[in-house]
Amino acid sequence: MSVVELSGVSKTFQQGKTVALQGIDLAIEAGEFVSLIGPSGCGKSTLLRIIGDLIQPTTGSVTVNGKPAHRARLDRDYGIVFQHAVLYDWRTVAKNIALPLEMLGWSRARRAQRVKEMLELVELTGFEHHHPWQLSGGMQQRVSIARALSFSPALLLMDEPFGALDEMTRERLNMELLRLWEEIGSTVVFVTHSIAEAVFLSTRVVVMSPRPGRITEVVDVDLPQPRTAQLREDPRYFELVTAVREALARGGAEAVVEEELVSGTDG
């Protein structure tokens, strides 16, 4: 059974004046790591939110875990991580991680136990009583990931989670994310506009074109698992990076991608 199944999904804004997404068909199987890549305005973040039932599609159907997306959201079937960590300043690290557990009505003792495990998982043990603003950007994002995974959702949605971080932190968190993915076995849908990041992390890269957003190509990433840092120097890795870049160019995204590299904006 597919964890995510999209068929004929489209989204228009402003009474049909802006077509954000058009004719999206995509099935994501359990345990996959799928990246959505495309230039700003290709609707990749919108698509992620449609999967999460945070935005309603104009047409088409969305199922998550075999249920309508709305049902899946009410059942807390997914965890989500945004570009900004979105931690609540008035809560400590531990209480931020425990937030979804509170919503699920877990007992205090059970919450404390899980928070401890999650802090170990993201290697932040000892920071439970810190407040978010006392942490670096990378650490904040690790807290945000721990929060998303705290209730063991089958699906993890990530919207450019490392887009606001420096390159070194981003590469380290890429490795950490892969380790977590191996450990917990969730399915991941990952939005990015970094070609290198998409290829390094994913089992499949879904290439999207600019407005109206469509899936132009899907690149299977046949790099061996588990991924290691050395892989970034592997000839096959470079071939796949080139393949994704060319797919983006064929989709008419080249100019936009160049512009994005300069301005560093996101979509």
Partner: protein
């Protein structure tokens, strides 16, 4: 430890010096220039305050209670209205322009009217004017706080299937608290102004505003000034008390104050 206290004292030194120089200039330059009758010397004001301290303190306390009544009612109402506006945005959007326009009105001009409505001797007349003065800054700040939450913070809550009530309780209200306190601090001063000006247009002879008004009509300027000092003292104490409450409630939250 003593080193730290010493350094803090040193930080305050310029401000203390300015105060001392200002007082000295008032005592020996401005007061003689303006005439001791119209601008009494600080020493005269201090002596008057000393001799009438009991009377003036009681008057200050009386007027402070008038201000506090209005403050509590006005601020509570403002917070409730801000919550309603934040929950039902359409209503808020429809009514906000009027709230903003009302903010531009010199509300204090209504003081004689509230006196007429409730009766000069009735503390409700002072509550009314102080409350109306407090309402807008608290409402506008609270609403800004409630709606300042970044969209992802709301999306995150919705991903947990949170109800609108959960979102208010766990995100909007905690996020709004620093803004609410900004409004509440501003309102302390406004409520004192409201109560005193309300007194000017008539009130109990015990009230501080009435004492100021009467002493100035009788050309007893030292007494008027002493009463003003007491009014300032209560105003500052009120402000400091709310600031301390803010510190306690918002401990662990980075300050939004400059």
């Amino acid at each position: 430890m003593s080193g730290r206290i010493g350094r803090r004292a040193l930080d305050w030194l310029p401000a203390v010096l300015v105060f001392a120089v200002g007082l000295a200039a008032w005592q020996w330059v401005f007061s003689p220039l303006a005439g001791r009758f119209l601008l009494p010397r600080p020493s005269t004001i201090a002596t008057t305050l000393w001799h009438n301290f009991r009377l003036l303190f009681d008057a200050g306390w009386f007027t402070f209670k008038e201000a506090l009544g209005g403050y509590v009612i006005g601020s509570a109402l403002a917070i409730v209205v801000a919550l309603l506006f934040a929950r039902w945005r359409r209503v808020g959007d429809a009514l906000m322009p009027y709230a903003v326009a009302a903010n531009a009105v010199p509300i204090i001009a209504f003081a004689p009217i509230t006196n007429a409505w409730f009766g000069v001797l009735n503390p409700h007349s002072k509550w009314a004017i102080a409350g109306v003065l407090c309402f807008l800054p608290v409402m506008v700040n609270t609403l800004r706080g409630l709606t300042s939450v970044r969209p992802e913070a709301i999306e995150l809550m919705r991903s947990y299937a949170a109800s609108e009530l959960d979102i208010f309780r766990r995100v909007r209200i905690p996020a709004a608290l620093p803004f609410v306190f900004t409004g509440l601090r501003v309102a302390t001063v406004l409520s004192m102004i409201g109560a005193i000006v309300g007194d000017y247009f008539g009130g109990s002879t015990v009230a501080l505003g009435v004492q100021i008004e009467n002493s100035i009509s009788l050309f007893d300027f030292p007494f008027g000034w002493a009463a003003i000092v007491v009014a300032s003292g209560f105003g500052i104490a009120f402000y400091v008390a709310v600031s301390l409450a803010e510190r306690v409630v918002l401990r662990g939250v980075p300050s939004t104050r400059e």
